[in-house]
Symmetry: C2
Subunit: 456 residues, 2 copies
């Protein structure tokens, strides 16, 4: 079916595996490209109706197909007919796709992290002249590209990097921001509930620092974006490994983190303190629980105090304060049944939040990414603050889907055009990859604005 | 070698596998029993010198042997010659011993928890007339026996149990208590460092309650022991499963916990808040760290404040307070190298504590166990408080080794005497097992003192 396109007609062929929400902008970008150029596009998904809907009608260059990536024959047939495969399957399912691509000497691109298993394919990929380009979405992806662009520039000028702090967040655009958390989901809600679990590790002025989960949301840094107001950032789990990835092994300060609107973390910290984001055990008696019971299960027993009073005393927040207002707005104190049969605390939180933090039909999301570099150049201490703000069009064409999908789509296009020639298992940290991608992204309105300053 | 004892001479034979510190009192008890009665005793250990030292000289009824429990031939030969096998190997190694016992129709006794794998052997054990008696030490062990003795008595009287709280702790005896923590190690230090990790789950007045680790040491209950002063208890991880074990499924309040001297938990909580008991990741740069650096790695960066100042501000303790005094006494602020090459935070803590919380050559440890029962009898609310205090003789004959070892030794003796006849995989919750054991323990000075009261 597939291979006659490229074999018989000698036209190039892109295969996208996975047509979910995060593929929308990617698919649209490559549909436009395919229609414009002599390129075929196939959209494959376990759900063929979804693939069909995303592929659309009206072009004989664009096809939809059903695929089960664990059926080797199906995967092989699909991969064989393609020149570039973009894998949008969940992170843990990338290995079979990578292996099939390697077996049939096809390039592969994805937005997910390089796993140790995929990294091991590097030698074979180089030998076969295949590129396996990973971490080519937003975070990881655009963060690498924009960081390396500045780091390499500073290096070229002869500067010495002293500090690199980088924060990224998927938020709601100001014009759609109408809740006290100043937050709505534009990405996997489960990941938002579990965010930060583990221990954040980073380095500051040469000192290793460790923040356990239960302290994470109390140790935020203020972040300012011109014209956009105040944000805050909490540390991601693993900043230290980026020293090696970016080739800045001896940098005294390195911190990566997640952006939220100012005040989010103090309120979220209340849930963390109570233990309501725990995903390691099943709650007892969930089927009979209301939201109020759920909160009460984490508070000390005291028959003479209300749940509200106990919460304030236990977590040290004020009844009239912003944190209490945010929590009450979620309905946490309501005598409303959870309507769940079996759940971990984190699963209950996710259900409650999904009802309240959903992007409405008119809502726009927003991506904010900010890098702050401090460096010494000719005896002078200097700073570069690079900030990217990208807004979505609607709940489908989100900023999240754009900033994840466009780097992938552009990389696929550049590969077919022969403008990316690197082979092996790579992430976009080299100029030959990030320069042309950043260039086209800029044309599409996605770019960093830079401010330079001399420091005292 | 072994089997000629029992086969040829028709004398009974006890095999102890594992001659470590916690076996000392058990071995001595059974040596005395063997010398007195027509019984042979073999002490087996991977370290034959240790086995030899514990077995001692001078009796042809008592032997030492080397054993590798993962060598099936060795294990089979040893088990075959015995009538009762007492397994003192680490908890996770009990399964091969249990299987060998079952294969050769020998009884087995141990102090460790029933694993699901061992539980599955119940049917076969019953069919073969073999007793696999688990959880027959202190905690689990003596706690089961003493609790069930009272629970069954209340039941027999027609009382309705409303609340059961039970706390156990291995501590230092008052006459040897000379440090501000009022604590020394009498048991596995690693377990003390990691104690409480996970989420404590219990039920109070019919409400399920969950305490995450980072709140556990702030939610202690006061415990009083007549003439011994003030203690405190923090909740153990899993109280709820004891409802089924003890047959008290509908009890409104059930809490099990660990006893420490009053004030221990508030100070220990400082380490928990900082994340210093985490065992999930390796610290960077351990080889160059001092104790002071170790503490500083968990504190926010602030070049104008000392480690001491930052610690007090961050955790909310007072510089002149008891918590600070305890922490400083451990040397946590000293510029003293850790002398470690690679370690998790928990491993560093363990090393620091092992130097400071060691039982001295003249020191005595102390076990405290307290059960508090509330029940309704003929319309009256009543309370029984049962308390056991047991002191060690010296750092070898510890209260811990006594209260773990004697129930095991007595159970072995009762089995050989035909006074325990139950078969299958059991824990000591039935009167036929706990009554004769508690009776002999009382003669040996280990018993609960009870106080009864009418409640308002």
């Amino acid at each position: 079916m597939l291979h006659h396109f490229s074999d018989l007609m000698n036209m190039q062929h892109i295969l996208i595996i996975g047509a979910g929400r995060s593929s929308t902008v990617l698919i649209n970008y490559l549909k436009a490209y395919a229609s414009r150029e002599g390129v075929y596009l196939t959209v494959a998904d376990t759900d063929v109706n979804l693939a069909q809907a995303k592929a659309g009608e009206g072009s004989n260059k664009i096809k939809a197909m059903a695929i089960d990536i664990f059926d080797e024959a199906q995967l092989t047939a699909a991969v064989k007919g393609a020149d570039v495969v973009i894998s949008m399957v969940p992170a843990s399912f990338h290995l079979p796709v990578a292996k099939a691509c390697l077996a049939h000497q096809k390039h592969m691109i994805s937005a997910s992290y390089v796993s140790p298993e995929v990294r091991e394919l590097n030698g074979e990929a180089q030998k076969k002249g295949v590129l396996i380009l990973k971490e080519c979405g937003l975070d990881p992806g655009l963060d690498h590209m924009t960081a390396m662009e500045v780091i390499n520039r500073i290096r070229k000028e002869g500067g010495e990097l002293l500090s690199f702090k980088s924060f990224t967040g998927g938020l709601v655009a100001p014009e759609s921001d109408n809740n006290p958390w100043n937050y709505k989901f534009s990405w996997n809600p489960r990941n938002v509930v579990l965010a930060g679990q583990g221990t954040a590790q980073y380095i500051r002025h040469g000192q290793y620092k460790y923040i356990p989960y239960h302290k994470l949301f109390t140790r935020t840094e203020p972040i300012e974006v011109d014209g956009m107001g105040e944000f805050e950032g909490y540390a991601n789990r693993d900043s230290l490994s980026y020293r090696q990835v970016y080739g800045i092994d001896n940098i005294p300060t390195l911190l990566r983190g997640t952006i939220r609107r100012k005040g989010y973390s103090r309120a979220w910290n209340v849930f963390v303190q109570l233990g309501m984001t725990d995903d390691t055990y099943q709650l007892e008696g969930v089927s009979k629980m209301t939201k109020r019971d759920f909160v009460n299960a984490f508070l000390p027993y005291n028959e003479s105090a209300s749940v509200e009073e106990k919460l304030c005393t236990y977590t040290g927040i004020e009844r009239e304060g912003e944190e209490f207002k945010k929590i009450a707005w979620l309905g946490m104190f309501d005598e409303e049944p959870l309507h769940m049969q079996k759940a971990t605390p984190a699963q209950v939180m996710q259900k409650i939040l999904e009802e309240k933090w959903q992007l409405g039909p008119e809502d726009k999301d927003m991506i904010v990414m900010q890098h702050k570099f401090e460096y010494q150049l000719k005896g002078e201490n200097r700073e570069i603050v690079a900030t990217l703000v990208s807004k979505g069009d609607d709940p489908q064409q989100t900023a999240m889907a754009k900033t994840v999908g466009l780097p992938l789509g552009i990389a696929a296009k550049l590969l077919l055009e022969g403008k990316i020639t690197r082979t092996g298992v790579c992430v976009p940290i080299t100029a030959d990859i990030y320069e042309p991608i950043l260039e086209e992204l800029k044309e599409l309105g996605i770019y960093m604005e830079e401010k330079e300053d001399t420091l005292a």
